[in-house]
C-alpha cells in the first residue's frame, strides 16, 4: 500500500489526512463527513475538471448541468430507495401554519427535538451526477442514430458519516454518460478504463483498476452485488487517498446494460431499449489522492503535474507539447 508523501522533506510520513487539516487544505466541520475546502484544494479540483474535459473534448459530449437536488419521484423510480435506502438524503421542510410554527418555536426555545416538525418535500439530494440525465433523455424521445454522450457534474450526497476525509457525505462527481447500443456503451466504458490508467500515469498516481460492486443494501443486495461482480459490470480505480494512504475508489466505470433505458423508456433510433454506461470521477477523492502522492504543498509537486492541472506556469510548459500529450491520451 502506498504511503502518504512526505510533505516536509524530513523523511517522516505524516498522517496525511491530519496534515491536510493542519495546513488548511481542508477545513474541519462538526459533522463527520462534512468539511470545507481551502484554495489549494479547489485549484486542484478545477484543474482535474479541466483536464478530464480536455481528454474528452474530441468525443463531443453534450454538457448538461443540474442542481444538487432532484425529484424524489424520479429517484424512487430509479429504484434507489430499494437498493440504497441507507445512503439516500431526503430534503425535509417546514410546511405548517401559524400554530405549527408556534409549536416549532416553542420546541426550539425549550431545546426539544424539532425533527417531527419537518416533512419530506418533493426533492432529494442527488446521489450520483448521472441520475437526472436519464429522465431528461427520456423526455426527448428516441435517440438519434449515434446515440447520446452527456457530460455532467454535480455535488452528490451519500449518508455515510465518517471521520475518513476521503468519505465525504457531500462531494463532487464529474461524469460522462454514453447512451446507445450494447456494443457502443461497453466500448465507451472500456475506453475510459484505458484513459484512466494513462491519466494516473500522467499524474504519477499509483492506481489500480479492480472489479467492484455497488453497496446494495441488505441480504438481497448482497446477491445483486455478487452478480454485478460476476458480470464485471463495474470497475473502480483505487488510489491511496484514505487515512495513512489507504486505497479509495476515485473513479468508477459502470455498464448499466438496459437498467436505466428500461426504467425511463429510453429508445434507440431503431426502437430498441437503449443501454447506458458511465464513467465517474470522484473529484474530492482524486484531489486527495494527488495530495497524498505529492504532498500538501502544491509548490512541491512535480512541474509536469502542475502543468497538466494548469496550476501555474512553471517555465517548462510548452503549450503545444502539453496539448499533444493530452490529445494522445484521448485516443488510447
Amino acid at each position: 500500500m502506498a504511503k502518504a508523501a512526505d510533505s516536509k522533506g524530513d523523511g517522516r510520513v505524516d498522517d496525511f489526512q491530519a496534515s491536510l487539516l493542519d495546513r488548511g487544505v481542508l477545513v474541519a466541520q462538526t459533522v463527520p463527513g462534512l468539511c470545507g475546502r481551502g484554495d489549494a484544494f479547489e485549484r486542484v479540483v478545477s484543474g482535474l475538471i479541466a483536464l478530464t474535459r480536455r481528454i474528452a473534448a474530441a468525443d463531443g459530449a453534450e454538457r448538461l448541468a443540474f442542481p444538487p437536488v432532484m425529484s424524489r419521484a424520479h429517484l424512487e423510480r430509479n429504484g434507489y430507495f430499494s437498493a440504497f435506502p441507507n445512503l439516500a438524503g431526503c430534503v425535509h421542510c417546514f410546511m405548517g401554519g401559524p400554530e405549527d410554527h408556534r409549536r416549532l418555536v416553542g420546541k426550539l426555545v425549550c431545546e426539544e427535538d424539532v425533527a417531527d416538525e419537518f416533512r419530506p418535500s418533493k426533492v432529494v439530494l442527488v446521489p450520483a451526477a448521472c441520475y437526472p440525465v436519464y429522465p431528461t433523455l427520456s423526455a426527448r424521445g428516441a435517440l438519434p442514430p449515434e446515440g447520446a454522450l452527456i457530460e455532467v457534474a454535480s455535488y452528490c450526497f451519500r449518508h455515510e458519516p465518517s471521520t475518513d476525509l476521503a468519505r465525504q457525505q457531500s462531494f463532487r462527481m464529474q461524469e460522462f454518460i454514453r447512451v446507445g447500443s450494447p456494443e457502443e456503451t461497453m466500448a465507451f466504458r472500456d475506453l475510459w478504463m484505458r484513459r484512466a490508467e494513462r491519466l494516473c500515469a500522467m499524474l504519477a498516481l499509483p492506481g489500480r483498476v479492480e472489479v467492484a460492486n455497488d453497496p446494495f443494501f441488505g441480504e438481497a443486495g448482497r446477491d445483486l452485488g455478487e452478480r454485478q461482480r460476476h458480470d464485471a459490470l463495474k470497475f473502480e480505480m483505487l488510489l491511496p487517498a484514505g487515512p495513512e494512504g489507504a486505497p479509495r475508489a476515485c473513479m468508477s466505470f459502470n455498464a448499466h446494460r438496459d437498467h436505466f433505458g428500461a426504467i425511463w423508456d429510453i429508445r434507440r433510433h431503431d426502437g430498441e431499449v437503449a443501454h447506458t454506461a458511465c464513467v465517474g470521477f470522484g473529484l474530492e477523492r482524486l484531489t486527495l489522492a494527488l495530495f497524498c502522492a505529492h504532498g500538501t504543498e502544491l509548490a512541491g509537486w512535480p512541474a509536469a503535474i502542475r502543468d497538466y492541472l494548469g496550476l501555474e506556469l512553471t517555465g517548462r510548459e510548452d503549450a503545444d507539447a502539453l496539448s499533444g500529450v493530452i490529445g494522445e491520451l484521448a485516443h488510447v
Binding site: R102, R103, V105, G106, K107, V109, C110, E111, E112
Partner: protein, 90 residues
C-alpha cells in the same frame, strides 16, 4: 414566604432562562428589575418567542395584550401569573 411569592420566584427563574437563550445574554444579566433598555435584543418578536417557550414549558398561554405596559422582567412574570390565575388579563 407565601405560595404566591414562591410562584413568582419560580416564574422568574423560568423567564430568566428563556430570556437568556432568546435574547442571547448571560442569565446573570437578567433580574426582576431588568428593563428592555438594558437588553439590546429585547423586542416584540423575541418577547413573543419567550412567551411561546412559557406556553410550551408551563402550558400557560399569554396573549400579547397581557404584556402591554410591562416595564421589566418582574412585570412580565406578574402578567403571566395574573393571566394564569384569572384566565384573562388583569
Amino acid at each position: 414566604m407565601s405560595d404566591e411569592r414562591l410562584g413568582r420566584d419560580a416564574m422568574l427563574e423560568q423567564l430568566r432562562g428563556l430570556m437568556a437563550k432568546v435574547f442571547g445574554v448571560a442569565v446573570e444579566r437578567i433580574g426582576a428589575d431588568t428593563t428592555p433598555d438594558e437588553i439590546p435584543r429585547w423586542d416584540s418578536l423575541n418577547l413573543l418567542t419567550v412567551m411561546i417557550g412559557i406556553e410550551r414549558r408551563l402550558g400557560i398561554s399569554v396573549p400579547p395584550e397581557a404584556l402591554e405596559g410591562v416595564r421589566d422582567v418582574g412585570g412580565v412574570a406578574d402578567a403571566i401569573l395574573r393571566h394564569a390565575l384569572n384566565g384573562a388579563p388583569a
